[in-house]
Symmetry: C2
DNA sequence: CCTCTTGCTGTACGATCGTTCAACAAGGGC
DNA sequence: GCCCTTGTTGAACGATCGTACAGCAAGAGG
């Protein structure tokens, strides 16, 4: 008992490490408690630190929240890119890998959606969130557009494509890569949203199937327009 | 000046009228201030009443919020139904009317999305919101499914439809009305979401066009499967 | 082992939150 | 014109919010 039990009351961490821990605690709190979890006290408790520490590493709460938003964005995109890279070189396999990664954990998680939705709710009134969104959402769209471009015949890009009015009965209109990416993004986001809000309504495999149907239809139209059979 | 200027300091309202006014004030506050607008003081100021009145007409704040969620749901569905009714009897015209109503004001409004998103953020942690969602979302899905059913040939409904594994290259698989409705819902929601988050990326007419393309493709497949030419 | 830097703690502060409640007064019924 | 019902007010309460800041102590450098 000579030694006074030198158990340190806390352990110092390098700023980057601590910042990362705080960011992850923020996301965990959002998962657990929704928007109510976005409080300095809740987050610092989750991270196991005192209330004052957050303002030592971040100028204010909004900056921490924006950093957390940036983190989940980056995580999502990195996950998708990894899945694609694992799939090899075949454009079809890469697209399929992307879809399957999109419609399975950890992307397809009701808790995760709850987190995203809180950020979207902040979007309109937080310039910080808006900036992060602009910076990262573009990456996601580009990723998707790249996958589509691989898949479609390398036809002349329809630059400045003005859509002809009333496309009702013209199934062989030239494929607009921009619109195609927008549509696929919408389908992905919409299915993701639906599944998270009510997981019982359909199975993830069915969502993949719906997307592949959309893409197959796209490839068919593109091939017809190009007059070739480039796509299998 | 004999009369002491009998200007009443407030005007009484029948409870249903006042309740409705408070509900609309809640939505207005959400539009204006996002989640921060969901405070008793902000809402009562918007409605022009005192802080105590809300708890006189609603047992607590959560009930008011749930009532507001129910209100915007009902409003949306009523708007769509009205647009459809105005379109007459032709299934194609009705579907088109629906799409155009969906992708124009007041549905397609960035402020409106901000309101929805806040409610979705509450969804996971509020039993009240969950109940309202269940009760009203079903109406929306049924509306959409009805429109689709009108449009597709009256083929035998694929009950208990088990999706065949790996539908990769079978474009003439029987059309599953359930999956079709799910896909169209996702496309609608996704495009709506995208447009509201970044209105510059595409025009509402392009969204309508994307949806009509999806539906046309569906009709084509259904016709092929039925072996008829029922749909023009 | 002492020193110095700095990551970290925890109290304090003012603002704002949702809710309660006693008192007020608007306005219809007689 | 008075009464009575009840819609409405607004002060007060305790809890919790984000931030500031003075001081503690961990742990590397000498």
């Amino acid at each position: 008992m000579a030694r006074p039990a030198p158990k340190p009351r806390f352990a110092r961490q390098p700023p980057p490490v601590r910042r990362q821990a705080l960011i992850e605690a923020t996301i965990e709190c959002l998962k657990r408690y929704g928007h109510d979890g976005l409080s300095i006290r809740t987050i610092s408790a989750q991270a196991g630190v005192s209330v004052g520490l957050i303002n030592h590493h971040f100028p204010n709460k909004n900056e921490l929240v924006a950093a957390a938003y940036r983190h989940i964005n980056a995580l999502l995109i990195a996950g998708m890119q990894a899945a694609i890279a694992r799939a090899g070189k075949s454009p079809r396999a890469r697209m399929r890998a992307f879809l399957e990664a999109w419609f399975s954990a950890p992307s397809l998680d009701a808790d995760a959606l709850a987190v995203w939705v809180v950020f979207w709710g902040l979007y309109r009134h937080s310039r910080l969130i808006q900036r992060v969104h602009r910076e990262t959402y573009q990456d996601y769209v580009n990723l998707l557009r790249g996958l589509l471009a691989e898949l479609l015949p390398p036809a002349r890009a329809p630059r400045n494509a003005r859509v002809r009015g009333g496309v009702r009965g013209t199934p062989s209109a030239p494929v607009d890569l921009r619109l195609a990416a927008i549509g696929l993004t919408a389908l992905l986001d919409g299915l993701w949203l639906e599944w998270c809000l009510e997981p019982g309504r359909f199975r993830p495999a069915e969502a993949v199937e719906l997307c592949e149907g959309w893409i197959a239809q796209l490839v068919r139209r593109a091939s017809a327009a190009a007059g070739t059979n480039a796509a299998v």
